[in-house]
């Protein structure tokens, strides 16, 4: 855990938790019992400055600055294993998604890499290239072929959901 130093009332944004909860999927942040099964399960937590469990606690405490300026929210791969195993249906994976959207909206620094991935998505329909080799490999494994999605509908979707900066 990153050292917290001394926290005071000035660090707390009382509206932060409700902002995080304004999200299309239900997030049971208040039910979290800090058991840590999310942090233990996370395949990338070793490189995070806050574990998913700690991020949930930051949200509960209203520590907006810490939560939105950290690296961890951009490291999450969205694999969902934390949400699968969470006993209280806190849905940490989606909590991190909500934090990413808030970070972008509130003008926090978004890693170049992440923006690049979004650009790729808009231009090609993928965040990384799907070449013939990939599809051959999938065929060998009996998996269906991947076809690029319709860029038009993707664009519409992204326009509708992309968080606006304040």
């Amino acid at each position: 855990m990153a050292r917290m130093g001394r926290l005071g009332r000035a660090d707390v944004d009382p509206r932060f938790e409700s902002d995080v909860l304004k999200y299309p999927v239900k997030l049971n942040v208040d039910a979290c019992l800090q058991c840590g099964v999310c942090g233990g399960s996370c395949p990338v937590a070793f490189s995070m400055d806050y574990t998913p469990r700690e991020l949930v606690e930051l949200v509960k405490l209203g520590l907006k600055e810490k939560a939105l300026s950290c690296r961890a929210i951009w490291i999450c791969t969205g694999c969902n294993v934390c949400s699968d195993r969470c006993p209280e249906d806190v849905n940490p994976s989606e909590v991190l998604n909500s934090l990413r959207a808030l970070a972008f909206k509130s003008g926090f620094k978004v890693p170049e890499m992440f923006l690049k991935m979004m650009e790729n998505l808009l231009s090609y329909g993928w965040i990384y290239e799907v070449d013939e080799f990939t599809n051959e490999d999938r065929a060998d494994r009996g998996l269906p072929q991947l076809k690029p999605p319709s860029l038009d509908s993707l664009k519409k979707m992204m326009e509708a959901t992309w968080p606006r900066r304040d």
Binding site: G39, C42, T51, R53
Partner: protein, 778 residues
């Protein structure tokens, strides 16, 4: 009751508590004019010796045959006044009380309206008093015997205690031996007693006690009769071995060709199809497991005692008992979590299996070598509403501490790590035990285990150490899981057979969580041990002794007295449709010769069955249709305008309204209470009667713990709304309020409702007339 009705009305000043708000002189004069009233008296303190004497004198002097006392809450002094009229030679059920203190003078500042309200309330009581009838509590003898279901430590202690008090006990166990889970344990925390050593002698006591009839391989088939006299039929599975002849020499087992996993060792060892469950088993005899026996007959040939009979048959045995104790224990959840490796790697085991390993010698099931590093994983399924159960299994923390300490002692130099969510060590000497574990170098990692990954012959445990926010991957030789404790699988059978209720967690539920902790929801049936919820040996024994005590209090007098305030059937009207039977959650109604029949011992008098009858064949003593309709009419007529009739359930809700008064919380005198056993006793006719006779609003107040329940009340009131709307009564004129005693302040809903009704116009006379006609209330 025919004849001349002579009612005396007695109005109490309550030393100013009533008379400073209610003008008792006017109330007395008004009461004396009511039909049937021959005398109306007011007095300073009716509950005093002189006040009670006054009632007795008037009863004799004026030849009264009904008494109405307007004073405090009946929950306070009903018994006092009943006793005094009984002393005057009247049946105590010919007394009626009106609450003009808690429900009137204490809650209203407006003296004029409070006085008018007291008059209206007394009118209701006088009109009801016309129809009162003498009632006598019934007495029946009880059988001095008890059926104890379940032969674990709770069942054993309940049986021994009852047998010691002289009761005949039938101890029924579904497996071949008594002993239960406790016999599988190595030591018991926190005293580290040898579990077998402390339990086995008590099992022998059971076998030797002449008052205990032990029946193994036995389950309950049916339960008939009533509390005090249950007729229970029991299904006894064949044992195939005569327990009298078997000397436990074990020759049969040696020649048996069938090998199956041994359930006593939680599948870690094997046993034969003919086997002794464990060396200290009671009864001390072998048994054949018919599901795996191939009937080769090899055992029969070697048995020198001629004890084996392969043609042994199942039989049904009938017993008669006065009371029943249910002590069927618990089951462990199967920890089917692929990410935790259970079932995938032999060295990932449950804590109960680990108990058996202590006895077998601590070795890894995979290779028989001693483990030097063991991880204990807590909360596998417990405290996990998402994939397991929401509750805490309570004993796993202490089990892990105990097992870690034993491991440390038995395997020198070994490491024990406990992965926990919160260590729960709140019991006598438990925190000290936790401290001892820390001093012995056991490592405590606060974090729920995410994964157990087999790597060669090691197991890697992955978790977040939440104390430092770091991911942890540690290698172990063995992993011990703590599965959630579940209610036994077939618990619903007790609901089906006897109406014993279960809670939302699936365990049996006590009659009152705090104050009736070993009474089931059914009279004469008691519960103890883990069948109520996870607990340790000590608590199970405490409950077993409590259940024994409760059962003997019930049976000890040799007879039971039951309240006469129960449902009854008019057989001429009953067509046996059974709708009432479905409605009764106490299994008090059965079909006898095609007619519904109410068992007064099981009936609690809630009255829910009565509106369920489409033919009006059911009624309730001391709250009959006639009595109720008369009271409603009396209260709804009269002076207070606008008028709200509040039906108040007689236990929790009535007490809540009393508490509200005790608190002197003020509300509108428009609200007049009518006490009913439950709002579920009411049909649409009663609500219509309130409106037809003058009510502008009707309120329903029910305790959340009543048999009707919160949802039941809501549904009922919605039904009334839909039906009455057709005759012009707006839905807003009906309201439901559910209360619990500690939340009696929820009755501030009185204000919401009265201001709503006061804003509405009075219900029109047309609608009132129409209701009179439609519901034949004239």
């Amino acid at each position: 009751m025919g004849g001349d009705v002579r009612i005396g009305v007695f109005i109490c000043h309550c030393g100013g508590n009533i008379s400073q708000v209610v003008d008792v002189n006017r109330v007395r004069d008004e009461a004396s004019k009511l039909n049937g009233v021959v005398v109306a008296v007011d007095y300073e303190h009716l509950c005093s010796k002189r006040g009670l004497d006054l009632i007795k004198e008037k009863v004799k002097e004026m030849g009264l045959n009904r008494v109405v006392v307007a004073s405090c809450s009946p929950l306070m002094h009903l018994q006092t006044f009943r006793s005094s009229v009984e002393e005057a030679g009247l049946n105590p059920y010919l007394l009626e009380m009106v609450n003009i203190r808690e429900h009137c003078s204490w809650v209203h500042g407006d003296k004029e309206r409070a006085t008018l309200k007291a008059m209206d309330l007394i009118r209701g009581a006088v009109m009801r008093a016309f129809h009162l009838e003498p009632l006598t509590p019934e007495k029946r003898s009880v059988k001095p015997s008890v059926l104890v279901v379940g032969g674990g430590v709770a069942g054993i202690f309940a049986s021994l205690d009852l047998a010691g008090k002289g009761y005949k006990v039938y101890l029924v166990e579904k497996s071949p031996s008594i002993g239960g889970h406790m016999m599988k344990l190595s030591k018991t925390f926190p005293t580290m007693d040898c579990s077998t050593c402390i339990l086995a002698p008590r099992m022998v006591d059971v076998a030797r006690n002449p008052n205990i009839e032990l029946m193994t391989l036995t389950t309950i088939e049916s339960v008939e009769g009533y509390p005090g006299d249950f007729k229970v039929s029991l299904r006894v599975k064949p044992r195939f071995v005569d327990t009298e002849k078997c000397v436990s020499c074990g020759e049969c087992s040696k020649v048996c060709p069938v090998t199956v996993p041994n359930e006593f060792d939680e599948g870690l060892t094997k046993r034969k199809a003919i086997y002794q469950p464990f060396p200290q088993a009671v009864p001390s005899a072998y048994v054949i497991d018919s599901s795996s026996c191939k009937r080769c007959g090899a055992c029969v040939k070697v048995c020198r005692g001629n004890a084996i009979n392969l043609d042994d048959q199942e039989r049904v045995v009938e017993v008669e008992v006065g009371a029943i104790i249910i002590a069927t224990g618990y089951e462990l959840m199967k920890p089917n979590r692929p990410e935790l490796g259970f079932g995938l790697h032999p060295d990932v085991i449950t804590n109960l299996q680990f108990e058996r390993l202590f006895v077998q010698g601590i070795v890894k099931p995979s290779n028989g070598k001693m483990p030097s590093r063991v991880a204990f994983v807590l909360c596998v399924g417990s405290r996990d509403p998402h994939r397991g159960v929401p509750y805490c299994s309570k004993i796993c923390c202490m089990i892990a501490l105990k097992q870690a300490l034993i491991l440390k002692e038995m395997v020198p130099g070994s490491d024990a790590w406990i992965f926990y969510t919160d260590i729960r060590a709140s019991g006598k000497w438990y925190e000290e035990f936790y401290a001892k574990a820390r001093e012995h170098g056991i490592k405590f990692i606060r974090g729920r285990v995410a994964e157990v990954i087999p790597e060669g012959d090691k197991l890697v445990v992955k978790a977040e150490d939440t104390s430092i926010g770091a991911q942890l991957e540690e290698e172990f030789d063995m992993v011990v899981l703590s599965p959630a404790i579940l209610p036994p699988r077939d618990l619903e059978v007790f609901d089906k057979l006897m109406g014993v209720g279960r809670g939302p967690d699936g365990f049996l539920v006590e009659r009152h969580y705090k104050l009736d902790p070993v009474d089931s929801t059914k009279s004469g049936v008691y519960v103890c041990g883990c069948v109520l919820g996870p607990k340790d040996v000590r608590e199970s024994v405490v409950e077993a002794l409590a259940a024994s005590s409760r059962a003997s209090s019930f049976l000890g007098k040799g007879e039971t007295t039951i309240s006469p305030e129960v449902a009854f059937v008019n057989e001429e009207l009953c067509d046996g449709c059974s709708l009432c039977i479905e409605k009764c959650s106490f299994k008090a109604i059965t079909l006898v010769n095609g007619k519904a029949s109410v068992n007064p011992f099981s009936c609690t008098g809630c009255g829910l069955c009565i509106p369920a009858c489409p033919r009006g064949a059911l009624d309730l003593k001391n709250c009959t249709e006639q009595q109720l309709l008369a009271e409603i009419a009396g209260v709804a007529q009269g002076y207070v305008k606008p008028k709200i009739v509040a039906f108040v359930e007689g236990t929790t809700a009535y007490r809540s309204v009393d508490m509200y008064g005790l608190d002197r919380r003020q509300y509108s005198p428009s609200i007049l209470t009518v006490k009913v056993p439950s709002c579920g006793r009411l049909g649409v006719k009663h609500v219509a009667a309130a409106f037809a006779n003058g009510a502008d609003g009707v309120l329903f107040v029910e305790g959340e713990d009543s048999p009707l329940g919160v949802d039941g009340l809501r549904e009922l009131v919605n039904k009334f709304r839909v039906e009455l709307r057709r005759h012009g009564v707006e839905a807003g004129r009906l309201m439901a309020v559910s209360v619990t005693l500690p939340q009696y302040y929820k009755l501030s809903a009185f204000d919401t409702f009265s201001s709503r009704i006061e804003k509405m116009k009075p219900l029109s006379d047309d609608v009132r007339r129409r209701l009179m006609e439609v519901y034949k209330l004239g």
